[in-house]
């Protein structure tokens, strides 16, 4: 497990809402059309699994998850 960095592409979002259901502390929707907004681009590590799952579920592939470099492996 490691922290991740998240970005979203609002132009390709289709407002399915799957990301909000999966990781509601990271993703939200615009009032006027349900398009995705980010609550945070650097969620706490405890949410990494949910964020990855949200990206997998997104039907429009509008979520990109960058795996931040984790701490160096202990010697």
């Amino acid at each position: 497990m490691s922290a991740v960095h998240v970005t979203v592409d609002q132009s390709s979002c289709i407002s399915s809402g799957q990301c909000v259901l999966t990781a509601g502390d990271v993703f939200d929707q615009r009032e006027e059309d349900g398009v995705v907004t980010l609550l945070t681009g650097t969620p706490p590590e405890s949410l990494s699994a949910d964020v990855r799952h949200a990206a997998l579920l997104c039907p429009a592939r509008a979520i990109t998850v960058d795996e931040s470099p984790g701490p160096p492996p202990s010697a």
Binding site: S12, I14, S15, S16, G17, Q18, V20, L21, T22, G24, Q29, E31, E32, D33, G34, V35, H53, L56, L57, P59, A60, R61
Partner: protein
Amino acid sequence: MTETELPEYPMTRAARCPFDPPPALRERQRDEPLGKVRTWDGHTAWLVTRYADQRALLADPRVSADVTRPGYPLTGPLRTGGGTIGFILMDDPEHARLRRMVTAPFAIRRVRALRPAIQQIVDDLIDGMLAGPRPVDLVEAFALPVPSLVICRLLGVPYTDHEFFQSNSRILIRRTATPDERGAAFQAIYDYLDDLMATKIASPQDDLLSELGARVSAGELTRREAAGTGVLLLIAGHETTANMIALGTLALLEHPDQLALLRDGGDPSTVDSAVEELLRYLNITHNGRRRVALEDIEIGGCTIRAGEGLILANDIANRDPDAFADPDALDVRRDARRHVAFGFGVHQCLGQPLARTELQVVYGTLYRRIPGLRLATTLDRIPFKHDGAVYGVYELPVTW
């Protein structure tokens, strides 16, 4: 293999396995996951049966949902009279423009706010069943009224007209209806919503048809586009969920251990996972998603040529052993959220947050309030909708 020897799609379910996809689909997934089939009009199309291939193709911009393109595998003869049902058979950018006009009410926050009203509708209908005679047809008394009442409220359609739009919807999605019958059914619902829209433009209310009417007045939408969108939302909003309620109940009654887990689990997360699992397991849209390739596409060692049709059979994709362990088992505790029952790609079901919430309220309430619910007939006497674009049961006699 010559074209006349190709198997015909759709295939037939096994008589004793009403919840399972046709056995021939399972064989195709195992032996020839990408291969050609023949459709009703003698044309050929690629049948795509694997979960991973379906997700890849449904999200691929080289794949079109435009029903008017040559090579698109039609589900049957086009209905007479023309007219378009919303945006589901269009490509971007037109599809995206029209879809975004109606996404706001289906946002998670807006749907969550509807939950108490949905709970009230469900409780009132159950009160009515408990006070009425037994046995009762669950379809008529409960499964059809729940989503019809909800979508009527959301759109601003008077529920008193439910027999009119329910009967015309049934004709429109019946495989065996003639082009004239389907044309007349479409026109009736279209004219009805167009008239209603005129009323809403004159005196707007707090509902989605009024919002569409305002966009017509503002010049953002044509009257035709607005009415077509209304037709799509009204039909898709009641018919699909109604079938998930009735067929889901039947599946649970036939799997009492799973019903007990759902009813007695005492955990809302079990209800949520049961909804996803029943969507995966039952696949009420059993005609396959239809598409046509815009360019040559290499996938799974095959080349789909530009102009060739695609049928993506979501029912068997959701039973793909490479995607779901023990795929033919109904297991309400599994994590089935990645199913393709709502489709995938830009056309994935617009109303899924509403459908999920309705099913969560229904599955979380009905069996708890009527714990003795049981079939008032035997499984072999239940009429299944083998002839419909949407699978389910025509009636479900129950007692308690």
